[in-house]
Amino acid sequence: MSASASETIDPAQAPLWDRNHHGHDVIGTRTFGFWLYMLSDAMIYAALFASFGVLSHVMNMAGGPMPGDVIRPGYAYGETLALFTSVLAYGYAMAALRRGRAGGVAGGLLGAMVFGAAFLGLVGKDLGDLFALGITPERSGYLSIFFTLVIYHALHIAVGLLWMLVSLVQLAREGFSSNVVYRLVNLKLFWHFQAVVWVFVFVFVYLQGVIA
């Protein structure tokens, strides 16, 4: 790690140009960028969780429903099972990708989509029931952040499902082209990341809400 212009490298021998430059690793570069995107999304979640912490005081419930009134552990349990089974199915898709089996990838993706849709259905039913009871985001600061956090996560799941659908079509059209492969790898990162975030939602929103 030597310094500046006065170097010990012999300038007469030093290579000045990389004549056989083969370009950069496309998949590695794209995946790195996706990690960076997820970092920014993690910051969004972090800010939402921080807001949730701030707005969870009893003052922020404004005399409205308390956490114990809006949280139904059964749904949270079912949603957790659905999402983690979906991640498992996606794991099978990635194992098939490693072996180069397009059928296995498609099967894994379909499985992940079915369980992801089940997750969305459960969240929809859970929140829909609350709405039917008149428990809405406008009721209090606590309910505002509760619905925002859960729906923001569910939106990610919906985007992931759309992405899987597009991936299935592209897999059928292009096979394992570098575009398809890096997108499948990125989608894996995305899907696992949403599952990790769900753990936080489960702990801080549902578990803590039930205990409180």
Partner: protein, 697 residues
């Protein structure tokens, strides 16, 4: 779910109605006519010279990082002009509306701006100068220079780069739209809560502010991802971390800040959006809202943001000063650590923006100490620059005088910042114009670094130098303006003048306010000199053609390719052997740019998708401002569909054949200018200027 609005709403036009056009305000009508006249003149000129095809093919659809950078800077310059016009209106209103006897015009009791209009102006001034002038210009310069400094042919994601540009441009266009349709926010650039809530600001102004900030925020986040990935993944062989040029280090630290902090801005504004559109209670004064949550979230972004703009400026100074001291940068490792030290501390100081909120003394003490900590790495940088100059062969070319003045403003602004860091002192000057003068000096330091950098790198990008004589006139008038505006402002701050006054009751402040007004006149004159400098430089460009290294003492890798840079940057990817690679090559007599055999170069293909995405985003934001739900849904669906369609595109890149590379390189070598495959001139003046001190005798 949707809130009830005050005032009319129709399914087709939302809240938009004829009454929203401010045709009764002569200032806005005059501005509108001026903008229309200028726009017609530009469109007419493009049509007259038959340049539409050129404009579309070479600029609007480009993915070339240099052209995208130039367009970023152009957007920034236009918005800088708008922000300056706002500043001139603030200053003239404050110079006019002093004392109960001061006359009033245009419906204002004193001066010529009503309080509501005045509020919009200072809000727009802040938003524009930070997010739509400083940020795009800095991002533009990073866009141009960073890939060249790391020896890459483009950014890591050229297509994403164009998306970021057009999103930022859409945000700027939305701010400009607010001038002529509806109104703008009036609660300060950082948005005072709960004043920004719907019941207290029922108009569309706050919505304009929200969506313009959001567009710019998303654009900057994407740009941050791109620049970080470029620096980490696209470095040329031999470019180890500790050989990275200082500007690239500064860009890396700055973009780590932007990548992590802009999402927090997104959240702080999104929650306000939900309050205003769906009636939630995040920041409301009742119903379980917490309005201080907004201040915390906003400034958790806001303070890192100011370091996001200052770190690239520090990087520019670190590039300019060694070149014109003819020495290597003093304390390279210390500089790297200082950059990341500043970036790290930036996350722990946000509460100093509201010491007076009434936190416990220990909380205030923590943020007071952490704020003072910023002074340590910044001091390291200042001393390193001074030691770089110490016993150097100093040349005061244009970039250097801007850089030296920047150091001065860094000291003056930084020292007053340290004064604000003392909580006890801050209680006295909080919300006074003393604070305003402090942060304006800090931002002016950035402006000075930017003008230095523009003069420094202009020949690299365009192949000719900017005129020195008119540039110095510009510099001195600009500096005189800065001194005349801000020294009286510090004084007024100590005398107790608070921020954002549309009427000043104390006539004894009149002389100082008049002095500030005189400073604005000096600023305006300096702008004339800038225009003259640009015009003269462009007129005499044939005389001022330069080679690869126009300064003769340049140090880093971007000078190892012809000026203007060919569209592929480097015919061969350079192999880096030293920290100051170009200086190393020059001093060892191997500063050769000539190659014998060329290979094909893999390049990304132009695409119009980013431009359309930007247009749809502008449409989406406009529709959301006016609550035209059908248009918003249409634009959103269009964006999603376009992104999916683009993911099916296969023909996204091509290979430049070796013969074409040889043709461009041969012409450059022969000292001629040449039109490359993309139609843009490359290379013009041979490789070395005749007067370079190291040129062979």
């Amino acid at each position: 779910m949707l809130v009830n609005l005050q005032g009319p709403w129709s399914p087709l036009l939302g809240r938009l109605a004829m009454s929203q056009i401010p045709y009764e305000n002569p200032i806005l009508v005059g501005t509108f006519l001026l903008v229309v006249a200028l726009g017609m003149a530009i469109l007419g000129a493009v049509t007259y010279y038959g340049k539409w095809r050129y404009l579309w093919r070479e600029w609007l659809t480009t993915v070339d990082h240099k052209k995208i950078g130039i367009m970023y800077i152009l957007v920034g310059l236009v918005m800088l002009l708008r922000g300056f016009a706002d500043a001139a209106m603030i200053r003239s209103q404050q110079a006019m509306a002093v004392g109960p006897d001061s006359p009033g015009y245009l419906g204002a009791l004193h001066g010529y701006l009503t309080p509501f209009h005045f509020g919009q102006i200072y809000t727009a001034h802040g938003v524009i100068m930070i997010l739509f002038a400083a940020t795009p210009i800095l991002v533009g310069i990073m866009n141009i220079i960073v890939p060249l400094q790391v020896g890459a042919r483009d950014m890591a994601y050229p297509y994403l780069n164009a998306v970021g540009l057009w999103l930022t441009t859409a945000g700027a266009a939305l701010v400009m739209t607010a001038l002529f349709i509806g109104d703008f926010a009036h609660a300060g650039w950082f948005g005072s809560l709960p004043l920004n809530e719907l019941p207290y600001s029922p108009g569309v102004g706050v919505d304009y502010w929200i969506w313009a900030m959001q567009l710019s925020s998303v654009g900057t986040t994407l740009g941050g991802i791109n620049l970080i990935a470029t620096i980490v993944k696209m470095r040329a062989p031999g470019m180890t971390w500790m050989r990275l040029p200082m500007f690239t280090w500064a860009s890396l630290s700055a973009n780590i800040i932007s990548l992590t902090s802009f999402p927090v801005l997104t959240v702080s504004l999104a929650l306000l959006t939900l309050d205003r559109y769906l009636g939630t209670h995040f920041y409301t004064a009742g119903m379980g809202g917490n309005l201080m949550l907004y201040n915390d979230l906003f400034w958790i972004w806001g303070h890192p943001e100011v370091y996001f703009v200052i770190l690239p400026a520090f990087g520019m100074l670190s590039e300019i000063i060694p070149v014109f001291s003819e020495k290597t940068l003093f304390g390279y490792t210390g500089m790297v650590l200082a950059s990341f030290g500043i970036a790290g501390v930036s996350w722990g100081v946000w509460l100093h923006h509201f010491f007076t909120m009434g936190s416990a003394p220990d909380v205030n003490a923590f943020y007071s100490v952490s704020t003072m900590l910023v002074g340590i790495p910044t001091g390291v940088k200042v001393f390193n620059w001074l030691f770089t100059m110490y016993r150097g062969r100093l040349r005061f070319d244009l970039p250097m005088i801007w850089a030296c003045a920047a150091l001065f403003f860094l000291l003056a602004g930084g020292m007053t910042g340290m004064m604000n860091a003392f909580t006890t002192n801050d209680y006295m000057v909080h919300n006074s114009v003393f604070v305003v003068a402090h942060f304006h000096l800090m931002l002016l330091l950035i402006v000075y670094a930017i003008f230095g950098a523009v003069n420094f790198w202009f020949p690299k990008v365009f192949g000719f130098k900017l005129n020195e004589r008119w540039g110095k006139w510009f510099f001195w008038f600009f500096t005189a303006g800065t001194a005349t505006v801000f020294i009286p402002m510090f004084t007024l701050g100590f005398m107790g003048m608070t921020r954002r006054l549309d009427y000043i009751p104390y006539t004894q402040w009149q002389p100082l306010l008049d002095a500030e007004m005189a400073g604005i006149v000096l600023y305006s004159l300096s702008a004339v000199y800038l225009v003259v400098q640009l015009y003269v430089s462009l007129r005499d460009r044939a005389l001022n053609r330069v080679g690869a290294d126009p300064w003769g003492t340049s140090r880093s890798l971007e000078w190892a390719t012809p000026s203007p840079v060919p569209f592929y940057n480097f015919a061969y990817i350079p192999h880096v052997n030293a920290r100051d690679e170009w200086a190393w090559r020059r001093e060892n007599g191997v500063a050769q740019l000539r190659h014998e055999h060329y290979t094909g170069i893999h390049m990304p293909r132009n695409t119009g998708v980013p431009l359309v995405l930007g247009g749809l985003s502008l449409g989406l934001a406009f529709a959301l401002v006016w609550r035209m739900w059908w248009l918003a849904a249409l634009c959103l669906a269009g964006i999603v569909l376009l992104v999916i369609m683009r993911s099916f595109a296969r023909n996204t890149d091509y290979t430049v054949p070796p013969e074409e590379v040889k043709r461009v390189e041969d012409a450059v070598w022969a000292g001629a200018s040449v039109r490359g495959a993309d139609g843009v001139r490359s290379g013009a003046g041979g490789l070395t200027p005749a007067h370079a001190p190291w040129a062979p005798k």
